[in-house]
C-alpha cells in the first residue's frame, strides 16, 4: 500500500465523512443532495410556471439545460444505480445528449423557439459544466463516497450560479461602477455561461432585474467561446490531477455499506 505521505497537499484529500463518522462533513453531503433536489425542482417548476414561457423563452432553455446538467451528474455518480461511476467525460456526453433531447422536445412542443445553433451551444455549455463538476468529484472522492462529494460540489456550483443574486447587493454599495468587480462576480457564475450560450441578457430580464441590482450597473458578460476554452482546460487539468491522485491511492469499494478501513 502506498504510504500516506504523497506529494499532493492535504487540503485536497477526501475527508471520507461517512466512513470516519464525521457528523459535520456527513451533514454537508446530505445537505448538498437536498440542495440538488431543490435546485432540480426549482429549475424545472417555478421558472416555467411562474414566468410564462412567452415572457422568458431564454429562461426556459437555460433552466432545462440546468436540469439536464444536474440529472446527468446525479445519475453518473449514483452508487445505487451503477457499480462504477461514470468517468467525467462520460457524464459530459450524457449531459450534452440529455440537454439536446430536452431542448428538442421543448421546441417540438412549441414551448420555446430555439434555433439549432443556440441548442447546440447550450448542449456544449451543459457538457462543459458537467465535465468540470464530475472531474472535481473524481478529484476529491475517487470512487468512494462520490454521492456525498457530488452533492457538495453541486452545492458550491449552485451557490456560484446564484452569485449575481447574493453578490449583487454588496456590489451596488461597495464597488465603484468601473471597478470590474461586477464582471468578476458575473463571470464566475455558471448561470452566466449557460445564458451566454443563447445570448440572453439574463441580468436585465424581468425576474433578475427585480431580484438583483446588477442589471443597473455597468458590466460585460464574458465571451462564450473564451469561457468554453477556459472551462475545457480547467476540466482537463482537474481530471488529470484526479487521475494522478488516485493512481497513487487505490480506489475503495463504491458500496455505501462498506465499512472496511485502509
Amino acid at each position: 500500500m502506498p504510504s500516506d505521505t504523497w506529494a499532493i497537499p492535504r487540503l485536497i484529500r477526501s475527508p471520507n465523512p461517512v466512513r470516519n463518522g464525521h457528523p459535520i462533513a456527513a451533514g454537508s453531503g446530505v445537505y448538498g443532495w437536498l440542495t440538488v433536489v431543490a435546485t432540480v425542482l426549482a429549475g424545472s417548476v417555478p421558472l416555467t410556471l411562474l414566468l410564462p414561457t412567452m415572457e422568458a423563452p431564454a429562461a426556459t432553455l437555460v433552466s432545462w439545460s440546468g436540469v439536464a446538467l444536474l440529472v446527468s451528474v446525479i445519475l453518473g455518480n449514483s452508487v445505487r444505480l451503477r457499480q462504477r461511476p461514470l468517468a467525467p467525460l462520460q457524464v459530459a456526453a450524457q449531459a450534452a445528449a440529455s440537454s439536446l433531447l430536452l431542448l428538442t422536445a421543448l421546441t417540438w412542443f412549441r414551448q420555446t423557439q430555439a434555433t439549432p445553433a443556440s441548442m447546440l451551444r447550450l448542449a456544449l455549455a451543459t457538457a462543459m459544466l458537467a465535465w468540470l463538476v464530475s472531474a472535481l468529484v473524481q478529484l476529491f472522492s475517487g470512487h468512494a463516497n462520490r454521492q456525498a462529494c457530488a452533492g457538495r460540489i453541486l452545492l458550491i456550483f449552485a451557490l456560484l450560479g446564484l452569485a449575481p443574486l447574493w453578490g449583487g447587493m454588496s456590489m451596488d454599495v461597495l464597488a465603484p461602477s468601473e471597478s470590474g468587480a461586477a464582471d468578476i462576480l458575473i463571470g464566475i457564475s455558471p448561470t452566466t455561461y449557460l445564458a451566454q450560450a443563447v445570448e440572453w441578457d439574463y441580468l436585465r430580464s424581468d425576474w433578475f432585474y427585480r431580484a438583483t441590482p446588477l442589471g443597473t450597473l455597468r458590466f460585460e458578460y464574458p465571451d462564450f467561446w473564451l469561457s468554453t476554452v477556459f472551462l475545457g482546460f480547467l476540466a482537463l487539468a482537474v481530471q488529470g490531477l484526479g487521475a494522478a491522485r488516485w493512481r497513487l491511492r487505490p480506489p475503495r469499494s463504491e458500496s455505501p455499506f462498506n465499512t472496511s478501513t485502509i
Partner: protein, 360 residues
C-alpha cells in the same frame, strides 16, 4: 418722410415685442450667461476625457450622448470643427451592424442605437441617412408585437427593451421613441400606436391604464406594475420620460394622460432630487429628462400644486451650477446605478440639459 417715420415706428415696435418675448421666455440674464459657461465647462471636460479613437468610456452609448452634447450646444459645433467631432462620429459608424443596430455589445442595443441615431441626425449630414433608416427599422423590430407572439392585451405589447431580452421598459421605449421622432419616422406609422399602449400601461392613472396600478397619481413607473424603487411607484425620471413619450407619439396636451402626468410633475416639482427615487438613483437621467420635457412642454414657468411659480430654466441652471465639479464634470456621488458613477455620462446628460436651458 412719412414713410420713413412709419418704418421707424414699425421697427421700434417689433424690437420691443421681440425683447419682451425673449425676456418672457428666457431666464435670469446673469444665470443665462452662467448656464452657457457651465455647458462650456462640461464640454471642456469631455474634450479632456475623449479617447484617441474619439470615444468616451469605451461605449457607443456614452460616446453618442457626449457627441450630441457638443452638436446641440450653443457653440454650434459641427463636423467641420475638427477631429473632436469627426472621430466620435466615425466611432459610431464603425459600430454599425448588419442588422441596423449601432452597438458594440449585444446588450444595450436599443439604448446604443437610439442615442446614436439622434447624434448622427444632429450632425445634419445626409450621408448618414441610410444608416439612420436602417437603424429605424432595427428599433421597430425590437418593439414587442404580434410578430413576437404577443397580443395587444399583454402588458409587454408595444414596449421596447434593452435588446438582449424581451422584457421591455419605459426608459428604453422613451429613448427609442425619441430617436424615431428625431429621425422623422412617419407619424402614421403603427409603431407609435403600439408604443402608446405600452406607455399608457406604465402610467399610474386609473382613467387610461387598463392594468393594475400602484397609485392613481398620474406619474409613471419603470414598466407596467414595476418600479425599481419599490412596487410600481411613480418617480421623476420615468414621469418625464413618459410625458416626452406621449408628446413624441403625437398626443395632444389636453389628453388625460398628459394632463395627469403634468399634474404629477406640478405636485412633485423639484430639481434637488429625483422625486420618488431611492437614494437619488438616476438623478442626472432625471435632470436630462426634466429639461427635455419642460422644453417640449413649452411653458417657461411651472406652477406647483401649492401655487408657487417656478422658472424651470433658472432652477435647473442654478442646481447644475452648484453641482459642477472643479474640472467641469458632474457625477452622481450618491448612487452609481445606471452608470451614473461615470462622470462622462453625467456630464453629457448635464450639458444636454443645459443646451435646452439656454435655448429659447
Amino acid at each position: 418722410m412719412l414713410r420713413l417715420v412709419k418704418h421707424f415706428l414699425l421697427a421700434a415696435a417689433l424690437a420691443v415685442t421681440n425683447a419682451a418675448t425673449a425676456a418672457g421666455d428666457m431666464m435670469d440674464p446673469a444665470l443665462h450667461s452662467k448656464a452657457k459657461r457651465l455647458a462650456d465647462g462640461g464640454l471642456h471636460y469631455l474634450r479632456g476625457t475623449q479617447a484617441e479613437d474619439g470615444s468616451w468610456s469605451k461605449s457607443v452609448g456614452v460616446t453618442a450622448l457626449a457627441l450630441r452634447a457638443f452638436l446641440e450646444s450653443h457653440r454650434g459645433y459641427n463636423e467641420g470643427d475638427g477631429a473632436f467631432i469627426t472621430r466620435p462620429v466615425q466611432f459610431l459608424l464603425d459600430h454599425v451592424n448588419p442588422d441596423g443596430s449601432i452597438s458594440e455589445t449585444n446588450n444595450n442595443r436599443n439604448y446604443n442605437t437610439a442615442v446614436s441615431m439622434v447624434a448622427l441626425k444632429a450632425t445634419g449630414n445626409p450621408a448618414y441617412d441610410e444608416i439612420i433608416q436602417n437603424s429605424q427599422r432595427f428599433l421597430q423590430g425590437l418593439q414587442i408585437d404580434e410578430q413576437d407572439g404577443y397580443e395587444r392585451d399583454h402588458k409587454y405589447y408595444g414596449g421596447v427593451g434593452y435588446g438582449g431580452d424581451e422584457r421591455p421598459d419605459l426608459s428604453n421605449a422613451y429613448h427609442a421613441l425619441e430617436a424615431l421622432k428625431a429621425t422623422n419616422l412617419d407619424s402614421a406609422d403603427p409603431t407609435w400606436g403600439k408604443a402608446l399602449l405600452f406607455v399608457s400601461r406604465s402610467q399610474n392613472n386609473s382613467e387610461t391604464n387598463d392594468l393594475e396600478f400602484a397609485a392613481n397619481d398620474g406619474g409613471f413607473a419603470y414598466m407596467p406594475e414595476y418600479s425599481p424603487h419599490g412596487g410600481a411607484v411613480s418617480y421623476g425620471g420615468m414621469t418625464h420620460a413618459g410625458l416626452l413619450s406621449l408628446l413624441y407619439a403625437g398626443v395632444d396636451k389636453n389628453d388625460p394622460r398628459l394632463k395627469a402626468a403634468y399634474q404629477w410633475i406640478r405636485a412633485n416639482y423639484t430639481v434637488d432630487v429625483n422625486p420618488g427615487a431611492k437614494e437619488n438613483q438616476g438623478y442626472f437621467y432625471y435632470l436630462n429628462a426634466f429639461a427635455k420635457a419642460m422644453y417640449a412642454w413649452g411653458e417657461p414657468e411651472v406652477v406647483d400644486t401649492a401655487g408657487v411659480s417656478h422658472n424651470w430654466r433658472n432652477d435647473l441652471a442654478g442646481k447644475l451650477l452648484s453641482l459642477q465639479q472643479e474640472d467641469g464634470s458632474w457625477v452622481n456621488r450618491e448612487s452609481g446605478r445606471w452608470w451614473e458613477g461615470d462622470p462622462n455620462l453625467c456630464t453629457a446628460w448635464s450639458v444636454t440639459a443645459l443646451n435646452k436651458v439656454v435655448r429659447k
